[in-house]
C-alpha cells in the first residue's frame, strides 16, 4: 500500500462531525493562518490533534509511525515551551485548549504511555532467522586493502546519449493500461467490495476543513480523545 493512499483507500473518514464550514472559505483561512506566525500555537494545536488521529488510525508503516511520533514529540515540545512562561498575552492557546495546562500535561503523559505501549508491541517479534552478527564470518579477512579514492572511479565505457530537455516524445500509446486480464466477473455487482476512490481536490479541500485552524472551543471535545485512548488501551 502506498503511504499516501493508506487512509483514503481504507475508507476511514476523519472529518469532524461538527465541522460544516464552507470548504473554500476554510481552506483560504487555513492557508492564511499557515503563513501567519502568530497562529503558530493554533497550528500546533491542530496538528497535535491531527497527529493523534493519524497515529491511531493510520496504516501499519513503521516509517509513517515514526515520523508522526516525532512530529507529536516536536509539537509537544513546542506546546510545553509556549505554556511554560504562561504569559497573559497569549490567550490564543488558552482559548483553543479547553483544558488547563495541568490536564494537557496529563494528556501528554498519557500519550507517552500509549506511544510506549505501541512501541513495546514490537518487542514481541519472533527471533530473527538471519545469521547474527556474531556468527557472521569476518568479511574483512579477504580484503585488507584500503579502498581507492572514490573520486577516482572510472566512468563506464558504455556510450550514453545526452538528452535535450523538452524534446521527449511518446514512443507508443500501447503501454497505457495495467496489462492485466479483463474483469473476469463483469456481470457481478462488486460495488460492495470496491474501495472508495480518491477524493477530488475539492473534496480534499473540504476534508481539509477538519484541519482548519482556530476552531471554536466547543468543537473540540477532549473526552473523545479519552474515549479513543480507552479503546486503544482496552484493545
Amino acid at each position: 500500500m502506498e503511504p499516501g493512499s493508506g487512509t483514503v483507500v481504507a475508507g476511514v473518514k476523519r472529518k469532524h462531525p461538527d465541522d460544516h464550514g464552507d470548504p473554500q472559505e476554510v481552506k483560504a483561512e487555513k492557508e492564511s493562518q499557515e503563513q501567519a506566525p502568530s497562529s503558530r500555537s493554533n497550528l500546533g494545536q491542530t496538528l497535535f490533534r491531527l497527529s493523534m488521529d493519524k497515529f491511531q488510525l493510520g496504516p501499519q508503516s513503521l516509517l509513517r509511525q515514526v515520523l508522526i511520533t516525532n512530529t507529536l514529540n516536536y509539537i509537544k515540545e513546542k506546546m510545553n515551551l509556549e505554556r511554560t512562561p504562561a504569559p497573559p498575552q497569549e490567550p490564543g492557546l488558552e482559548l483553543l485548549l479547553p483544558v488547563t495546562a495541568q490536564s494537557a500535561n496529563n494528556f501528554l503523559r498519557e500519550l507517552e504511555v500509549i506511544l510506549g505501549l505501541r512501541a513495546t508491541q514490537d518487542c514481541c517479534e519472533p527471533p530473527d532467522l538471519s545469521w547474527s552478527p556474531a556468527s557472521a564470518p569476518d568479511v574483512s579477512s579477504d580484503c585488507r586493502q584500503t579502498p581507492p579514492p572514490l573520486g577516482a572511479s572510472v566512468l563506464p565505457s558504455v556510450r550514453v546519449e545526452e538528452p535535450t530537455l523538452g524534446s521527449f516524445e511518446s514512443m507508443s500509446d500501447r503501454y497505457l493500461g495495467d496489462l492485466v486480464p479483463d474483469d473476469f466477473f463483469p456481470d457481478i455487482d462488486t460495488s460492495d467490495v470496491e474501495r472508495d476512490p480518491w477524493p477530488s481536490p475539492s473534496a480534499l479541500a473540504a476534508y481539509g476543513a477538519a484541519c482548519s485552524l482556530g476552531q471554536p472551543r466547543a468543537e473540540w471535545h477532549w473526552t473523545e480523545l479519552d474515549q479513543i485512548l480507552e479503546i486503544i488501551k482496552g484493545s
Binding site: S130, E169, D173, L176
Partner: protein
C-alpha cells in the same frame, strides 16, 4: 515467432481502457535491465510485466525501439502471518535485474517480506525423434522400435518461460523497502525499516545482518532506514538513507556489522527554517548512486539533491521539485500525501536527473546547464510521436496560458516511480496504473 506473436496478441488483449482503477493495478515499481533491452514493472497485485525492446523493422520504421510485452507472471501472492496475525500484501516493492550471465535473464522481486529470484528464458527449438518416447513424451512400445535414430532439434514457436529459482524468506521482521544487487554479481542486500541483510544469490536459508539500527527499547526509536543501495563499482561499499534526512556510507571491510558508518552525509538544518513538518519533508525517500559511482542522488519531499562522495557536509546541488507546496504542507499532512515516497533517477551519463511530482508531472534537471523542465505524463500527450510540452505551475502573479495553478493540482495523480534507460534517453514513467515510455526525439532521430 508465431507463438511469441500470439503471446503478445494475448497480452495486448489484456489491455483495457480504464475508466476506473483497482488497487491491484497500480504500478509500484519500474526497472530497466542493464542493457535497457528489457523493462520490468511490478504492481500492487503482485504481478510482474516484462517489456522487450523491438529491433528495427524495415516494414515499420517507427517500430524501432518500441517496447512490447514480453512476459507477464504472478510473482507474489497475498499471505497471512499467523504468528503475528498480520496480512502480508502481494505488492511488489522493488524489482532488480541481475547482470546477464548467459542467454537467460534473471531478476529479483520483493514484497514486504519475501524476495524471489526469477529466471526468464526463451525456447524456440524442441528435440524430436526420440527412440524410446513418442512426441507426447510417453514411452513407446519397445516392439515397435525397429531402428535407432538420432534425435534432432526442430524450430518451434518462441516460448518465454519464467520460473522461480530461489525464494529468500524469513529474513525480515519489518517491511522491505530496498533490494540491491552487488557489483560482485554474487550477493545482494535487502533493507527493511530497521535492518539490512546481505544474501548470497545461491543461498536462501541464511543471510548476514550488516546493519541493525533497532534500539534495545523500541520507545527510543526515532529513525528508520528508508532506502539503500550498493556502490556500482566497489562491492564493499553501500549507502543507506534515513527518515531524518541523512545518508550513511558503510564499508563492509571495516566490520561484519556496519553499525558504524564510514561517512555520514548530512546537511545541517537552519534553525530559523524549522517547522512542524521539517523532519517529515527531510526524510529521504530514495537514494541512487550515479553510474560513475562518484555521486549520490537523494529525493526528499520537496527537493532532489546531488551529493559528492568526497563531501559529507552538504549536497553539491539542490533542486527544488515543487517548492510551491511548502505553504500547503498542513493540507498535505492531513491527506497523507506528505508521506509519499518519490523515487529519483540518473540518466546514462549522470548529467540529468529525473523525479516525479503530482498531477502526473515529472521533473528533469540538467546539471550542466542548470535548466529544468516539468513534463506531464497524460493520455493526451501520449499519442505516438507526440512531443511533450513543458508545463508550468503558476504560484500566483501573472498566469500564462496553459499554466496550471497550485490549487488545481491533482494530488491523486502522482508519479512515484520512474526509470531511465542505462544508455539511451528513454524514460519509463509509472502513473497510477499506466506506464508511459518516452524517448528523446532529438537523439533518437540522430541514430
Amino acid at each position: 515467432m508465431g507463438e511469441d506473436a500470439d503471446t503478445r496478441k494475448i497480452n495486448h488483449s489484456f489491455l483495457r481502457d480504464h475508466s476506473y482503477v483497482t488497487e491491484a493495478d497500480i504500478i509500484s515499481t519500474v526497472e530497466f535491465n542493464h542493457t535497457g533491452e528489457l523493462l520490468a514493472t511490478g504492481d500492487k497485485g503482485g504481478r510482474v510485466v516484462i517489456f522487450q525492446r523491438e529491433p528495427e523493422s524495415k516494414n515499420e520504421p517507427h517500430s524501432q525501439g518500441e517496447y512490447n510485452v514480453y512476459s507477464t507472471f504472478q510473482s507474489h501472492e497475498p499471505e497471512f502471518d499467523y504468528l503475528k496475525s498480520l496480512e502480508i500484501e502481494e505488492k511488489i516493492n522493488k524489482i532488480k535485474w541481475l547482470p546477464q550471465q548467459n542467454a537467460a535473464h534473471s531478476l529479483l522481486s520483493t514484497n514486504d517480506k519475501t524476495i524471489k529470484l526469477w529466471k526468464v528464458t526463451e525456447r524456440d527449438k524442441r528435440p524430436e525423434g526420440y527412440n524410446l518416447k513418442d512426441e507426447e513424451g510417453k514411452l513407446k512400445d519397445l516392439s515397435t522400435v525397429t531402428s535407432l535414430q538420432v534425435p534432432v532439434l526442430k524450430p518451434m514457436d518462441l516460448m518465454v518461460e519464467v520460473s522461480p529459482r530461489r525464494i529468500f524468506a524469513n529474513g525480515h521482521t519489518y517491511h522491505i523497502n530496498s533490494i540491491s544487487v552487488n557489483s560482485d554479481c554474487e550477493t545482494y542486500m535487502s533493507a527493511d525499516d530497521l535492518r539490512i541483510n546481505l544474501w548470497h544469490l545461491a543461498i536462501t536459508d541464511r543471510s548476514f545482518n550488516i546493519v541493525d539500527i533497532k534500539p534495545a527499547n523500541m520507545e527510543d526509536l526515532t529513525e528508520v532506514i528508508t532506502a539503500s543501495e550498493f556502490h556500482p563499482h566497489h562491492c564493499n561499499l553501500f549507502v543507506y538513507s534515513s527518515s531524518k534526512g541523512s545518508l550513511r556510507l558503510c564499508d563492509m571491510r571495516a566490520s561484519a556489522l556496519c553499525d558504524k558508518h564510514s561517512k555520514l552525509f548530512e546537511e545541517p538544518e537552519d534553525p530559523s527554517n524549522r517547522s512542524f513538518f521539517s523532519e517529515i519533508i527531510s526524510s529521504v525517500s530514495d537514494v541512487k548512486f550515479s553510474h560513475s559511482g562518484r555521486f549520490m542522488l537523494t529525493r526528499d519531499y520537496l527537493t532532489v539533491k546531488v551529493w559528492d562522495l568526497n563531501m559529507e557536509t552538504k549536497p553539491i546541488e539542490t533542486y527544488q521539485v515543487h517548492d510551491y507546496l511548502r505553504s500547503k504542507l498542513c493540507s498535505l499532512y492531513e491527506n497523507d500525501c506528505i508521506f509519499d515516497k518519490f523515487e529519483c533517477a540518473w540518466n546514462g551519463s549522470d548529467s540529468v536527473i529525473m523525479t516525479g511530482a503530482y498531477n502526473n508531472f515529472f521533473r528533469m534537471f540538467d546539471r550542466n546547464t542548470k535548466r529544468d523542465v516539468t513534463l506531464e505524463a497524460s493520455r493526451e500527450s501520449s499519442k505516438p510521436r507526440a512531443i511533450l510540452k513543458p508545463r508550468r505551475v503558476c504560484v500566483g502573479g501573472k498566469r500564462r496560458k496553459d499554466d496550471i495553478s497550485v490549487d488545481s493540482l491533482d494530488f491523486t495523480k502522482k508519479i512515484l516511480h520512474t526509470a531511465w534507460h542505462p544508455a539511451e534517453n528513454i524514460i519509463a514513467i509509472a502513473a497510477t496504473n499506466n506506464l508511459y515510455i518516452f524517448q528523446d526525439k532529438v537523439n533518437s532521430e540522430m541514430h
